[in-house]
Amino acid sequence: MEIKLENLKLNDWELNTTLSSEDIIGITGPEYEEVLEILSLKEIAEGQIMINEETITKENQYEYYKKISLVQKDLKKINYLNTIKEHMDFIINYYHLQIKNIEKKEKDSLKIVGLDSSLLDRNITSLSKSEQKKVQIAISLLSNPELMILDEPFKSLDNKSRKKIMMILTKLKEQYHKIIIIGSNNADILYQYTTKMLFVKNKRIFLEGSTQELYERVDYLKRNGYKIPEIVLFTYKAIKKKKVKLEYHKDIRDIIKDIYKHV
């Protein structure tokens, strides 16, 4: 699965990039939320979007945006609705989703995120933070999105819940070939969980490439106001100040072993 954006223009932004289901993609920068909104195609943008080989034009962009889901930071209860089923039914009606067996689809969506179908009748306000995030993802799966955009998906989650959500996102990428985009300003999280990064700034994609390689460009990122993951910053300081031959690692246990080898 691949989405190519060429001169996609909206609200002074201009985006040129290729997003693929090969990577877990991170987006960061002071205005990253605006990029998530543009990518969600809720507003008609100028420019060209190619999905696999198909070109999306201004005329059919509206139809296509159902294939993109934007999972917001928090699960928002819709005023007069209570249960998860009510919320799912609402989304199906609101977006005119063509689903043959609605009950099966709702149960299957919950199953993909590891939740039991008995949860359908639970009040949305009674869910734990981790359940809320899973339910948000399950709701977004109702439209069979090809591109899933998640704004701070790990917010308020402890590391156990984070790992579970990451397993779900990896499964959606590996088994269902969905393009996964994580928007966040938490450098430690992005470094840990993404494989490709888009750094945005001044209404453009300022820098893009492999997460590992880009975060190693510490001076450049710092000069441009980006936060550096702490594990990277420590390694960078050791290399720069003490000329130690440490490697950049993602797991603290690996850097400990590396330090031990070099003391």
């Binding site: 308020s156 402890d158 156990k160 100040k241 400990i256 031990y260």
Partner: protein, 265 residues
């Protein structure tokens, strides 16, 4: 120091089995734990939103025995998920209304307003709609209003969760100033152990009970226990503790440059 809060064998529904602790007057304590350990429920119980019987004493008197007026006077609570919309159209009107409830003369009111704006760094938001300002400003408005009544004990529920690193630092500084000025005891839940590190005493809740307690750095040295219940250690604490296990360093070092200098002298 006098004990301001005493919790004795607190049991509550399926959340707490047997929780006991004391908070001394003027102490800043943090309570942490993994998702769903009951942090918000505990703040609701301590701040009197959820009633208990003969389990919690504030300044020697059971909380349920306080008349409502007195309780409101000596305690303050901020639980972000409960906060309703501000009623006024500007931060200035919002603050002036609250000041009006506490101060009598016009001169006092004006002076207090000036002080609040300065202390809470709200100058550039005075004419803004309080419902539309950033989360950090909303929190500072709420805190400034609570502190007008100079409560002797303040309950805060994961109030730093939405804040950026710099905002967290400013907020902790502000809390420390308020704590010193008024001898206010502060009880704050947090899912961020970096925040806990700034407090005087830390409790970790897990599986309905207090799992660990003590001076924050000492508690955080139990990295395996904390990781197991889903908590992330601050990076420098985690690094120090693990390097200690390898005998590379002999104490926790929170400063990255000093750590590099210590390892490679």
């Amino acid at each position: 120091m006098v004990e301001s809060l005493e919790v004795n064998n607190l049991k509550y529904e399926n959340l707490f089995e047997d929780i006991s602790f004391q908070v001394k007057s003027g102490q800043f304590i943090t309570i942490s734990g993994g998702n769903n350990c009951g942090k918000t429920a505990l703040i609701r119980i301590l701040s009197g939103q959820i009633k208990t019987e003969k389990m919690i004493k504030l300044f020697g008197t059971y909380t349920e025995e306080y008349p409502q007026n007195l309780w409101k006077e000596i305690t303050g609570a901020i639980i972000p998920q409960d906060n309703p919309e501000f009623l006024f159209k500007t931060v200035e009107e919002e603050l002036n209304y609250t000041i009006h409830l506490f101060k009598k003369t016009e001169e006092e009111k004006k002076e207090t307003y000036k002080e609040l704006i300065k202390k809470y760094k709200l100058t550039k938001y005075q004419k803004k709609n309080p419902n539309e300002v950033p989360e950090f400003i909303k929190i500072k408005i709420l805190l400034s209003e609570k502190m007008l009544g100079t409560p002797q004990i303040l309950f805060l529920d994961d109030i730093c969760e939405e804040l950026e690193e710099k905002e967290k630092e400013e907020f902790i500084k502000l809390l420390r100033t308020l704590q010193l000025e008024n001898q206010t005891s502060i009880i704050m839940t947090t899912s961020d152990l970096n925040i806990a590190l700034e407090s005087d005493y830390l409790f970790i809740i897990n599986d309905k009970n207090i799992l660990l307690e003590g001076e924050p750095l000492t508690v955080l040295e139990k990295d395996n226990v904390l990781n197991k219940i889903g908590l992330d250690l601050p990076f420098m604490v985690d690094l120090s503790v693990k390097l200690k296990d390898y005998n590379v360093v002999d104490r926790v070092e929170l400063n990255m440059d000093r750590m590099v200098d210590t390892i490679w002298k």
